[in-house]
């Protein structure tokens, strides 16, 4: 088993990592307001296409294959709040997920998450 020393080093590392988050927080930078779709496509914002195909969007180019295709979302998420929660903190439903916790780690602001959710809900 691992020693406490390594564990606490790891915790320090994580605190360090969390420290960066506030510095790089999307909320700190004033940007022209992007639409939900723009946020979902933009490589430095949501970059959902890195991992998800969006089969109903003809301009969703070279998507990744890490996550499931985002399609028929209304049918699969009758409760829109559940969809938002998945995007806000994907680790709640699956602690081993590869999907980044966009809200929890402040990769996107609350308002941006709302707009992305609206866009994804319509897929």
């Amino acid at each position: 088993m691992r020693s406490h020393a390594t564990l606490s080093k790891l915790v320090v590392g994580l605190i360090g990592a969390l420290g960066i988050i506030s510095v790089a927080s999307a909320a700190d930078v004033a940007k022209p307001e992007l639409t939900g779709k723009q946020l979902a496509y933009d490589r430095s914002m949501g970059n959902c296409l890195a991992c998800h195909a969006m089969p109903t969007q003809t301009d969703a180019e070279s998507p990744g294959t890490i996550g499931p295709p985002l399609i028929a979302m209304k049918a699969r998420y009758p409760d829109k709040a559940k969809l938002r929660a998945q995007i806000w903190n994907s680790l709640d439903t699956n602690p081993n997920t590869a999907m980044p916790p966009f809200g929890k780690n402040k990769i996107l602001t609350e308002a941006e998450i709302d707009r992305v959710t609206d866009f994804i809900y319509g897929l």
Binding site: R2, V11, L14, I20, R43, A98
Partner: protein
């Protein structure tokens, strides 16, 4: 706060196929089993090609580029550096058994006396210093990069042969394994999120390589001419997830390289290759 952080640590430890208190050999075997059962058509030796093993077109491009590598000149310069005597008349060959042939696959090793992991790059620097020369910067492409780009070719075909013996070596290996499985950065990815759980998947248009095989062929020449050392690649991957990278040559990365190289044990080395 402390509690949530500890919980985070705890979940990161359970990630992937590797269990917390397994032996290195068990770790390696578990990973081999995971990949080969997921991708039965890809033979174990092909893992040295990384992402290329998953994509016929990229593999074809690689093969034709490797016939006439655009980085041939850099390797020749490395050879000249390797063969040019130091001021005292000795050469790098004098610092290694067998004049440096078929040795690179033994690196990194754990030096019990110094109580730390020693990489091939550090052995080169130890050789320089012992012979009255100044140490190179470990991540520097023009010096250390070129000399290792040639020096490692002397071990082409050697099978990776990393040893982890004794409590101190195991602790270093475990620290490296921690780094590999711990989530970090704003995106909260671990190395394993991309190179274990999603090896073979695409992130946008880029195929993700499996972790085994990744340590066998360094440095790489990205785009044909941009020399990248293994630890500089660690910096790049840390940055991808908006994590603060560590210093090339730091104990953190040396331990990571120790774990990361061990899991390629048994795979043939082939130094200085093309990558996209």
């Amino acid at each position: 706060m402390k509690k949530t952080l500890l919980a985070l640590v705890a979940t990161s430890l359970t990630l992937g196929a590797v269990v917390a208190n397994a032996t290195p050999e068990q770790d390696r075997k578990d990973l081999v089993k995971l990949y080969t059962s997921k991708y039965p058509d890809i033979k174990l030796n092909q893992y040295v090609y990384g992402a290329l093993a998953f994509d016929k077109d990229s593999m074809a491009q690689y093969t034709s580029i490797m016939d006439f590598p655009p980085f041939g000149e850099a390797i020749e310069q490395g050879q000249k550096m390797w063969e040019t005597p130091f001021k005292n008349g000795k050469t790098y060959a004098s610092c290694f058994p067998n004049s440096g042939k078929n040795v690179a696959g033994n690196y990194p090793y754990f030096d019990d006396k110094a109580n730390k992991v020693v990489t091939f790059e550090q052995a080169i620097n130890e050789c320089r210093v012992a012979n009255g020369e100044e140490a190179y910067k470990e991540g520097d492409a023009a010096t250390m990069g070129k000399v290792t780009a040639f020096g490692r070719t002397l071990s082409d075909g050697m099978k990776m042969n990393i040893k982890v013996k004794g409590a101190a070596a195991e602790a270093a290996y475990d620290a490296g394994k921690h780094h590999f499985y711990a989530r970090r950065g704003q995106f909260g990815f671990s190395c394993a999120s991309c190179h274990v759980d999603n090896a073979g998947n695409r992130i946008r248009s880029e195929v993700l390589s499996p972790a085994i095989g990744q340590a066998t062929h360094w440095p790489v020449f990205r785009g044909g001419d941009n020399l990248v050392t293994l630890q500089t690649r660690y910096v790049g991957c840390n940055r991808l997830v908006r994590a603060e990278p560590f210093k090339v040559g730091s104990a953190e990365y040396n331990n990571l390289e120790y774990f990361h190289s061990y899991i390629s044990n048994g795979l043939p080395m082939h130094a200085s290759v093309f990558r996209k």
